[in-house]
């Protein structure tokens, strides 16, 4: 849906998920090699890595699908 101009709202959402996902994924990878002194509960599940990856993939998909000029949304 492009009710605001040539850029779909879903494209903005894609950017948000992609950037946040990459930052969270990166943090998770860093923590994998630098285990914190006081890890969170269920640290062994490495939620940052898989949740960050899911958000980044979802966001990347949205960015590609709703790239301005493709006429989608």
């Amino acid at each position: 849906m492009k009710s605001g101009g040539s850029i779909s709202i879903w494209f903005f959402i894609g950017i948000s998920l992609l950037v946040n996902g990459l930052l969270i994924f990166g943090s998770g990878i860093y923590e994998l090699f630098h285990i914190p002194a006081h890890p969170v509960v269920l640290f062994n599940y490495h939620a940052s890595i898989w949740w960050g990856a899911i958000l980044a993939l979802l966001g990347g998909g949205y960015c590609i699908y709703f790239t301005p000029g493709k006429g989608r949304g």
Binding site: M1, S3, G4, G5, I7, I9, F12, I13, I15, S16, L17, V19, N20, L23, I24, F25, G26, S27, G28, E31, P36, P39, V40, V41, L42, F43, Y45, A47, S48, W51, G52, L55
Partner: protein, 567 residues
Amino acid sequence: MTLALAFLNTPRLVHLSTVDMVIIVFYFVLVLAIGFYLKERANTGEDFFMAGREMTAWIAGLSFLSANLGSLELMGWAGASYQYGILATHWYWIGAIPAMLFLALVMMPFYYISKTHSVPGYLKLRFGESSRALSSVCFAFMTVLMSGINMYSMALVLKIILGWNINVSILVSSITVAIYVTLGGLRSAIFNEVLQFILIWAGALLIPILGLIEAGGWTGLKARIAVNASAEYTHMWSTMGHFKDNPMGIHWTGIVFGLAAVISTGYWTTDFLVVQRVLAAKDLRAAKMAPIIGATFKMFVPFIVILPGLLGLALLPMKLMPEAQAIATGGHSYNEVLPLMLARYCGPGLLGLGITALIAGFMSGMAGNVSAFTTVWTYDIYRALIKKDGTDKHYVNMGRLSTIGGVAISIVTAYGVIYFKSIMDYVQALFSFFIAPLFATVIIGMLWKRASPAGGFWGLLAGTGSSIGMWAWVKMDPTALRYVALSPYAKDMAENMYRALWSCLICAFVTVAVSLATTPKPEAELKGLVYGATDIPSETYVSTFHRPWFWAVVVGTIFVVLNIIFW
């Protein structure tokens, strides 16, 4: 430097890392970027106040729900579920879903076909100027105060969780909201609400997932709650046979007739804050589908709000307590359960996203109030009562000015609450005074051709007046609770339910009585406004899967099944 120092004070619940701060700052940058991007599309009144009436059902539906996901929703209901158990889910299921479906199928055609720009605007068309004046002045006043309370709540939460200075939080959030709503109008508010909705889910969804893993699934969770509190905390209906049998002190009649039939229906169908989002839909079918889409997601919001509260009850090593006790003893209050669970599972990055979700929730509530205030102030008060002959450009400029004015009043309210805490209780009570009778006025106006302009006005006035009267009666004489709420054991929430029910019935009675004694509008003037005088477009040209009725039945069935499962 001063700004930086302001962040470094008071004890805090969690500590943010650099990556968390980057995520939060990125959120603010993106929100402002959307506002600047949409500035070019907010030049006419229709664009600025109604988002051009070109929103798809999905955008309108998510925005409809997101505008309601404010401070009370996220923190308050998570705390309520810790305190009252799964009973809090009633406010999401029976206290929302039937009302949303009713709005979609019964009321939306009249709002949409009448081409009104607001709920007070509908009252003007149906009952005349006096009804509009009464409802718009009350609504504008309440909305901007609620925005201030939202702002204060956010600043307080950020202070408790992060140790941030309250002044900085209020200024940063209010300036951000003022900029993006002033620039892009309702379209900007709606776009940001959809973004905020996605972020809320992205940031909060991990808590129930990891919490259920730790608790050993739903069965393990119930077993732990039975030990830590009581088995009744995981049942929605089976404990509601008597006021004393459940922690909320409420009877099922209060939930069904007070919450579901009056308060929730009134809120979801006549509170312009949420209805405005649906009025921006591109056509009638989208306007009918939007609340149904909103209802679908609303059914699952307890997963990220109620479930974390229950998980807190089962898993947190400390006992949470009421606000006053927490302040006195240095413990944690019920309202801190969500950030406590966030800190329990979320490391750097995830924590930043979770905090962003909270901030997004607060800001969407604040922006929703401000954009609704702007429309009602400009169209229903300024244009109707102060300057009737302005140009479209003049009203758009007034809209931008009133956005800034609304934010300024909100800031004043936020500071008022800091110094006079009871303001919060009064404003929330005032809001409830108005919504229940308004629902009776609107629904009678939509469904009964005989309802007259005088009946609409006097009914609304009598309903609001009686609600205030009952509230004052119980304040002055607490024993009056046995009459207002039907039981001396009833607690605040139960009193609210019954007061709403009585004021709605009084409004309906007066509206009908006065209407029968006065002259109704000619039928020709009711076209597009009332059932029986309006041609509602047929949907026979669309397939079953595209019909709002079909999806309403699907959502309604899931709603019934969920209630049976958690009975």
